[in-house]
Subunit: 348 residues, 2 copies
DNA sequence: TGCCGATGCAGAAACGCCTTCTCGCCATTC
DNA sequence: GAATGGCGAGAAGGCGTTTCTGCATCGGCA
């Protein structure tokens, strides 16, 4: 004998629909619908009865059908390349959390940066009538922006600006300038920059800010460019920067991973000590920067803050679809640790 | 004058439907549908005409409506806690990539491990008629498994086993035993284990394998348990292991992050050198393990392989929905680097 | 060359599931 | 007793797929 003879455990093998719930609760199909719509006119007693029946049957409103009628879903697309790397992994985590908290459902399109891959991602997201698209890597072609606009799908770009799209950026150039000022306040005259060949707006801005400020103050900057903005790229940049006899006294790295690669290379292949003989500043302040080995002075870029701003931008865009593109610019602040000291005389 | 007077650029502000494409191409609505269905009976000429019209209008099949009829979507849910941490970030990246490659669309539910959070995640995924759910963290309650089964939604659990669900696991216990054998082959008699208080099946298996093998061979194991299985947890474990005078000669760490914390603590707060005075073995082989600072000997767990197996399991489950639960067990292999040497006499 | 059968393509209708709108009824209150 | 408000029931709509039916064309055979 089963625990209850109410429902024989036949293989349903399909989702229960509102009709079944209605039948079980002895109400109409639309009553069930209203019971699940906040603010609809159902008596408390009936709603309770419906909810009990729904619970028992394991009913769940079909968001596909709901979205079909609403002409939009609660899905939000995150388009990203290499979501496992450095700062980006934290940004993806923060965004998914913020979106879920908002009631949205994040789709992560892990893909390349080429135009056709981005277009394919957009097609997928259009197919599911995504509420919005957030681009974390790569530059959407103008057709992408145009198509999103035509279909009324908000498009938010992070870490770069795109004509016609909303974006969240940080003050990369200002941070680059500040890095230069910090070094110069220490009396260094030979500066170095560790960047990459594959340049993005973000890295270009950091480089420009640093070099321009250094040039304006009469300092020389030696450039090192690794392949990618990761650990290996940092090693490669270090190889270039510390190959000759006149190496820099202080290096600004395009991000923390590059700084780690550079530091490790310097420690292993040169006799320079950090920070006594060489100061290093990174960018991002990922958790590894605080590890004892690196104890890296770096610019903090809080992923939770950036995610919150992206979501806020999305809210505003949905409230005013026809408003001109919005540009959100966040500030960073330097986190002083052991790899580069700041003289007391220096004012931030 | 506009570039072409064909379409005045009015704000559509809605997605184009198959009806509009049909009108434009001068065919019926069902012809459009067939044109987008592979293998349907449409003449090549008509298909081409339809495709051209679709392209011009920016038409995209509504997957919401498609899923409504198919009673399932191509969405696959990934339920994960702290997707930014260590190995998990790589696993999430590998899974999203593998799923997209398969033609599925990954939804990432970044949430806690509590029962109610998991149930909420399941409701969301049921609502969108997700093709499958893959759980990366946390233990689904039995109601979760039962509901997934009733609704015919495949459920795949990674890194643990759950009654009634398919899973992919790795041989944690075997790896733990091998770590012990490696240490013993070096002649060490005082072993250490760096784990955490918050234990998961994964960490328990590694610990058990290591301790049992050591005990079986007459070696003593000192235990250190940090708070979480991350860098800080490794530091904390190190504090416990190296507090007294009789510290271990070799430590097996529950994962790489813990190993990094332990190594950094040892370097800073003791005079022990690695590997001369202390051997360390980690687990996961995340990219940081290969960094020069750590040069960590560790067990490789390839995220791409695990993702491929998870997807393969999904394929099999969809092919044979009624088949009993499948358990996939992957092997790891040790990657020998500088933090722990393996004597020539040792056979793997 | 003409006719019949077979085949293939196109269109119409129904279905899937939910939401919303409208209509009607009942209960409550003055 | 009548009017009003609130709740319930039924129907339509949103979009793509699938099935069924009809029509036309092609080929084969006499």
């Amino acid at each position: 004998m089963d625990s209850n003879g109410d429902d024989l455990p036949k293989k349903t093998q399909h989702y229960v629909s509102a009709v079944e719930v209605a039948r079980k609760a002895g109400v109409s199909r639309s009553a069930v619908s209203r019971a699940f719509t906040p603010g609809a006119s159902v008596s408390a007693k009936k709603r309770e009865k419906i909810m009990a029946a729904a619970e028992e049957l394991g009913y769940q409103v079909n968001d596909l059908a709901r979205g079909l009628l609403a002409r939009t879903s609660r899905l939000v697309g995150l388009v990203v390349t290499n979501p496992e790397l450095g700062y980006r992994s934290h940004l993806v985590a923060a965004l998914t959390k913020a979106l879920i908290h908002r009631g949205s459902v994040p789709i992560v399109i892990n893909t390349g940066r080429t135009e056709e891959e981005l277009v394919a991602a957009q097609k997928t997201l259009f197919g599911y009538r995504a509420e919005a698209t957030i681009i974390l890597s790569g530059s959407p072609p103008s057709s992408f922006v145009e198509l999103a606009r035509r279909n009324g799908q908000p498009l938010i770009v992070l870490g770069r600006s795109e004509t016609g799209a909303d974006d969240v950026n940080i003050d990369n150039e200002g941070a680059g300038r500040e890095a230069a000022r910090v070094f110069l306040a220490n009396g260094f005259t030979a500066l170095g920059f560790a960047g990459t060949i594959s340049r993005t707006p973000t890295t270009i801005e950091r480089e420009n800010g640093f070099c321009q400020e250094a040039a304006a103050r009469g300092a020389n900057v030696i450039m090192g460019h690794g392949g990618n903005s990761d650990y290996a790229g940092g090693q490669e940049a270090a190889r270039q920067l510390f190959a000759g006899s006149d190496h820099p006294q202080a290096v600004f790295c395009v991000n923390d991973l590059v700084a780690f690669g550079l530091i490790d290379h310097v420690r292993r292949h040169t006799s320079l000590r950090i920070p006594e003989d060489l100061s290093v500043i990174g960018f991002d302040d990922i958790p590894e920067a605080a590890w004892e080995t690196y104890n890296l002075t770096t610019f903090r870029q809080d992923p939770a803050v950036m995610a919150a701003h992206a979501v806020a931008l999305l809210d505003q865009r949905q409230a005013e679809p026809d408003r001109p593109p919005m540009h959100d610019r966040l500030n960073t602040h330097i986190v002083v640790r052991g790899s580069a000291r700041i003289p007391a005389s220096f004012k931030l």
